[in-house]
């Protein structure tokens, strides 16, 4: 199949890529741009391990072709904070032990980041990560971590 030119701004870096139109966004992020923080846990759009921000919205990057999002702005887990910094949400994940094996964590962080950006009320937090499977934690530590940020407990704590 003939390769196509795709323009993507990923973590504020602009890329022009010649890619197969069959390639999923997650494959481009991982295989072409070496952003392996984004994981894949299924091929049915069910697990959420591949969640990224697409123009600010949480999207499962295994459910879109890269050519479909030509010109888009993508944020992956690597783009959440600058340098050695951590976002309030990342700090809260550390404090609350909101991960174990860590394989779902990038996706969780991205879903929660999008959700927090929309100014959530606390009952909705569960729905905010409903699309992300975590087999290790039982979710409650993740919910506590997100709630703490939503309640403003980490306002001055990003580093």
């Amino acid at each position: 199949m003939k390769k196509k030119l795709v323009h993507l701004t990923v973590n504020e870096e602009y890329h022009e890529l010649y890619i197969s139109p069959r390639k999923l966004l997650v494959e481009i992020l991982r295989d072409e741009l070496d952003l392996t923080g984004t994981k894949r846990g299924c091929s049915t759009g069910s697990c959420g391990a591949c969640t990224i921000l697409l123009d600010g919205a949480a999207v499962k990057s295994c459910s879109v072709l890269a050519v479909q999002v030509d010109g888009a702005k993508v944020t992956t887990v690597e783009g959440l904070a600058d340098g050695a910094g951590l976002t309030p949400l990342q700090l809260s994940f550390l404090d609350h032990g909101a991960f174990q094996c860590g394989f779902c964590t990038s996706g969780m962080l991205m879903s929660a980041t999008a959700f927090l950006n929309e100014d959530p009320v606390s009952e909705d937090i569960k729905k905010g990560i409903q699309g992300n499977i975590c087999r290790c934690t039982g979710y409650n530590s993740i919910l506590r971590a997100i709630r703490a940020v939503a309640e403003g407990k980490y306002e001055d704590e990003g580093r």
Binding site: S43, S46, K126, N140
Partner: protein
């Protein structure tokens, strides 16, 4: 109980791998790419039972981009298994040569320039089978005349186990009330978020390096060397981050084996990642069990005699199923005092994907059946569910005849705490019930079916000139947090900060042997080895410090938080970091090195120590739809001394989610050996919206066998939930479901049946 003051133990410490994980920098096997790396795929049998007549790989080999196509004929044809002490139980070839025994069994493997090409090549491999009739249900497969899977196993009996103590027949004679029940416990998939995967890199020097997602790099090294005909230490297994295990990743798997043989053929790295569908249909899973239990009790609820028989669906190969068969029998009696007990277990080969270890290891099945029956007995005799458990509960110092000695045991306190919580709930609304279940679990197995000549756990420690401690462990962190636990144990014993520890793990070339993360063994076993190494290193430092401080000989020294001091006069001391510099100089420039190891001796048949607990679940049952909604899940838990509260909390909540799934949503329905829901759309595990509020109440005991008094925390918690859930349904509706999972359909049918009676 002894009182201890700790500076590190029992403080919530950030996971030492945390920053790598929350920034996406943690490199899992799934993320590894090596120069010149090829991608492999595995062709699997579409038949549950059949002879392989012929495999033609020529078309696949001609496809552009394909580098190698291998079948069982290209291997040494060795059978392997993790029960190495028993040859007949090493029954799995991994790449079948003559016969396939389950849908999904590997028959060929391809390496190509990319995954798509490898996938395409699979379609070009022509396999001619002679399909054979299959045996699918253990109760059918064990009958005379059923299709036989293995030549050596008549009536498909793979393993049998017998456990007995006391006079069971006499016990039943004395009983005022005898009850018998049949139960069916379903299968369950582990669903690790990182599927099984491996990258093999064989070089012309004859050395094989395998990066893989595993719970035991030591087992994988030994098993690979054996099946490939390599010297044990010419195989190096590396596993830095493992994306979940839950019991599915300590046996040799098809990804590890196939990419190894492909790499050995091509002298090029090869990566294989199983798809989610392969993961569901062709990797191992929780053992389904058919349980018969007969119990005899006195009018006042005192237990007298119990008889249990189980038939387990073994699937096509032994795997770790032999251990599950023993443990389910032992834990069927747990955590109670049964004066007499008789267990007979039969593991039956079937033409289904092999069943094996999964978190709880046979105990969740046993606990579900036992705890369901105990509530039925209590109901029949008019005794409160807590009271009947309290009356028969194990206690510190109890000896399970011929099996185990219980040292620490906080079961009584757990029952009290749960009793208080239930009472605090007051009167419940209609169609709501609270069910309880008591449980216990082992802190590492003492059995050595693997036949290792090494200590079960070892640790090596080196203190460098700046006081930084290199700690080398063989344990595997698959998410349960053992890396942090080991760093904490080391820091506490040595008297330094967790930040002073640099942990090395997950590499057979640099780390000492540990049997791996299974059977809840790391905290106690690897923890003891780490503590011993740290203690020996500390002695070396204290010798120098004592010489320097020159105290009156009646004073002894300790180190806390980097301060070496007289215990009786803590203000009189020296900096650990200063003493280390001088000690190394004093040792002619040698860093301080110490080793530790642990192997249980004379600790019974099962484990050196046991966790205990009681769980209560409050649930609503909708009488119109049969739908169960979890409201609260409260657990009182005795894991000895808590090492990291943050880690224990996470383990407990995670176990609840997995075990609740086992109780009412997760199942692997099959049709003639074909799993019908091999994807995350149809396999229903709990989502965040379905999780109940969880509350954990720690009951601290001191376990003399564990490091700082610690024991198992997290696997045992998978045991009670299905039973507590079933009992909640029973108390809400009066119906008792003895067939897992407790689905709305089963609840509705039972409600209808009850109404018609």
């Amino acid at each position: 109980m002894k009182k201890h003051t700790y500076t590190v133990i029992n403080t919530p410490i950030h996971n030492i791998d945390g920053i790598a994980k929350i920034t996406g920098r943690a490199e899992y096997t799934f993320d590894i790419t090596l120069p010149r790396m090829l991608h492999g795929k595995i062709l699997r049998s579409p038949y549950p039972h059949g002879e392989i007549i012929h495999i033609d790989t020529s078309k696949a080999e001609r496809l552009k981009g394909v580098k190698a196509v291998l079948t069982g004929k290209d291997t040494l044809g060795r059978k392997q298994g993790i029960w190495r002490r028993f040859k007949e139980l090493c029954d799995e070839e991994i790449l079948a040569r003559d016969k396939v025994r389950y849908i999904g069994e590997p028959v060929a493997t391809v390496a190509a320039v990319d995954e798509d090409t490898a996938e395409e090549a699979l379609d070009l491999i022509e396999v001619e089978y002679n399909a054979l009739p299959g045996a699918f249900e253990p109760l059918e497969a064990i009958k005379e005349g059923a299709p036989q899977l293995h030549e050596h196993a008549e009536r498909n009996i793979n393993v049998t186990r017998h456990i007995e103590w006391g006079d069971v027949d006499e016990g039943f004679k004395k009983a005022d009330y005898v009850r018998e029940d049949w139960f069916r416990c379903s299968s369950q998939a582990h669903v690790c978020m990182e599927t099984h995967c491996a990258v093999a890199d064989y070089t012309p020097e004859g050395k094989l390096t395998v990066y893989t997602s595993t719970q035991s790099h030591y087992y994988i090294k030994v098993l690979l060397a054996e099946i490939l005909g390599l010297r044990e230490n010419d195989v190096r297994v590396i596993s830095r981050y493992t994306g979940g295990g839950f019991g599915s990743k300590f046996e040799l798997d098809s990804a590890q084996f196939c990419c190894s043989i492909l790499s050995m053929k091509l002298c090029q790295p090869v990566k294989i990642v199983l798809t989610r569908e392969e993961e569901f249909s062709a990797t191992k899973r929780r053992t389904p069990m058919f349980y018969y239990i007969r119990s005899g009790v006195k009018k006042d609820g005192a237990f007298l005699a119990k008889e249990a028989r189980v038939f387990t669906e073994g699937g096509a190969y032994t795997a770790m199923g032999a251990t599950a068969l023993y443990l389910t029998g032992f834990f069927q009696s747990f955590p109670y005092v049964w004066p007499s007990y008789r267990y007979d277990g039969y593991r039956v080969y079937t033409n289904t994907a092999p069943t094996s270890a999964m978190r709880g290891f046979g105990a969740p099945q046993a606990t579900f059946c036992a705890e369901t029956q105990i509530d039925l007995i209590a109901d029949e005799l008019g005794i409160d569910p807590i009271d009947i458990r309290r009356k028969n509960a194990m206690y510190p110092g109890y000896e399970v005849p011929g099996q185990a000695t219980i040292q620490s045991c906080g079961l009584g306190q757990c029952l009290d705490k749960i009793d208080d919580w239930i009472k605090s709930r007051g009167k419940l609304p209609p169609n709501r019930g609270i069910g309880v279940s008591a449980y216990g679990f082992m802190s590492g197995g003492i059995f050595n079916w693997f036949d290792t000549p090494y200590a079960f756990s070892s640790a090596v420690l080196q203190i460098n000139i700046d006081g930084k401690v290199d700690l080398f462990v063989g344990s595997q962190d698959m998410g349960q947090g053992s890396n942090t636990t080991m760093a904490m144990i080391c820091a506490e014993e040595l008297g330094v900060k967790v930040e002073d520890i640099r942990l090395h793990m997950g590499d057979t070339e640099t780390c000492p042997v540990d049997l791996g993360a299974w059977g809840s063994r790391e905290t106690l076993m690897q923890g003891n080895a780490v503590k011993m190494a740290a203690s020996k290193a500390k002695q070396q430092i204290l010798e120098f410090a004592t010489a320097k401080l020159a105290p009156n000989i009646v004073y002894d020294l300790d180190i806390k938080d980097g301060w070496i001091h007289l215990i009786a006069r803590p203000e009189r001391g020296l900096s650990f970091y200063d003493v280390v510099k001088e000690a190394i100089r004093g040792k002619d420039g040698q860093p301080i090195i110490a080793r530790g190891h642990y192997t249980p001796h004379r600790k019974g048949m099962i484990s050196p120590a046991y966790s205990f607990g009681v769980q209560a679940i409050e649930a609503d049952v909708n009488p119109d739809t049969g739908k169960i909604t979890l409201k609260n899940c409260v657990t009182a838990h005795d894991c000895g001394q808590v090492i990291n509260p943050l880690g224990v909390e996470g383990q407990l909540e995670g176990a609840i989610a997995m075990a609740a799934g086992y109780g009412f949503t997760e199942d692997l329905p099959m049709d003639e050996g074909k799993i019908l829901n091999p994807n995350l759309v149809d396999y229903m595990l709990l989502r965040a919206t379905e999780m109940p509020e969880t509350k954990v109440m720690e009951v601290e005991t001191y376990e003399p066998e564990g490091p700082f008094g610690a024991k198992e925390a997290g696997e045992g918690l998978t045991n009670p939930t299905a039973g507590a859930l079933g009992n909640a349904v029973f108390h809400a509706t009066g119906i008792s479901i003895k067939n897992l999972p407790i689905t709305p359909e089963k609840v509705l049918n039972a409600l209808k049946e009850k109404k018609n009676k």
